[in-house]
Point group: C2
Chain length 198, copies 2
Amino acid sequence: MVSVMTEIDIHTQILEAAEARFQQYGYNKTTMAEISRDCDMSAANLYRYFENKLDIAAAISQQCLDEKELVLASVVHDASLSASEKLEGFVLEVLHYTYNHFDVSPKLSELVEAMSAHRPDMVAKHIGSKLKLLSELVEQGQKSGEFQLESVSETADGILTAIMLFYYPLTLKMFPLEVLEVKATNLCRLLLAGLTAR
Amino acid sequence: MVSVMTEIDIHTQILEAAEARFQQYGYNKTTMAEISRDCDMSAANLYRYFENKLDIAAAISQQCLDEKELVLASVVHDASLSASEKLEGFVLEVLHYTYNHFDVSPKLSELVEAMSAHRPDMVAKHIGSKLKLLSELVEQGQKSGEFQLESVSETADGILTAIMLFYYPLTLKMFPLEVLEVKATNLCRLLLAGLTAR
DNA sequence: ACGCTGAATATTCAATTAAATATTCAGCGT
DNA sequence: ACGCTGAATATTTAATTGAATATTCAGCGT
């Protein structure tokens, strides 16, 4: 039992050390030796807890995505918001989350690159989660009579397609945040005009 | 007069030779020597007609964008289409145009990269043109009573934001064409639901 | 036996240099 | 003088190799 506890601790210890390094120096520039040193162990010992460096990055990235999904879920499940407010909150949350991530610690984009290249399933799963959340949101709006639409899944897919722009760092660097916020707001108004029952 | 004619011919001769090379081997791999050889002249002589290699690429890219804008304009100005049909045509045209470009001759993406990196104004101008076309489309729909909306410019901006996805080669390679077409259709339905007067 | 390490090996990265290419220019033929 | 070229120069790309890093593994201490 004690050994199990210890293993879990070491896992998280490694992840925390690695995350700090990735954040400050980026995925590519941090070495297994540095991570192991931060944990007072040999580099070889890291491999008793993770298959390889990419798996460490994947675990950290997964935490990140889980956290993001949690934030978005809290918007979708916030009982104090109307469906329209939820949609706008969802879109702005996506924009701000992505924007802050690449503004505060641009080094983390290396993690995105690595996962996109070597763990495409993870990215696909995340997209699926967001699609599910949007479906919930749309269905709630429909059930409450606030929205009026033909197909929940097609509508959710359409919304996700429309907000894809806010996931691309390239685009996000083309405009200042205020402009992006205006674009997000314009887009929401457009979408809501079609969804809202009249 | 004869010399002027000749100069124009040489210009187009160079552009055609370069375009063929760029299409087959890509921008990066074609050399000024090869282009000049195709035109039966020295490499030095190319510089009497274009400042540098990038300018040749820019001229070709501009032709390409002009052509694309012409196609989109023909959709917007097609009197036989309703405003809704124009919007759907516009979106599908963008999708197909981009898709075919990178499917038929993926090497041309090197031109896009080069222009994005070194001629950002060109890209911005093209976005502006599309925004103008969408504004026309929206305004026509409003004038005819088919659409009902608050602001033409904000609506056009929202639509352009929503269809940005269809400009990114990365995204286009994530899904097969049929899936993209479904996404485009879903998106159009969503947008039109909000625009169409009821 | 378990959890770890140091040293060995395999892979990746980075600095160096050689080669290819872009660009310039003095001067040739008309 | 005009339109062009070959050769010279500047810049970029590609190949090489040495160093750094990831990964493996035999074996040590408990």
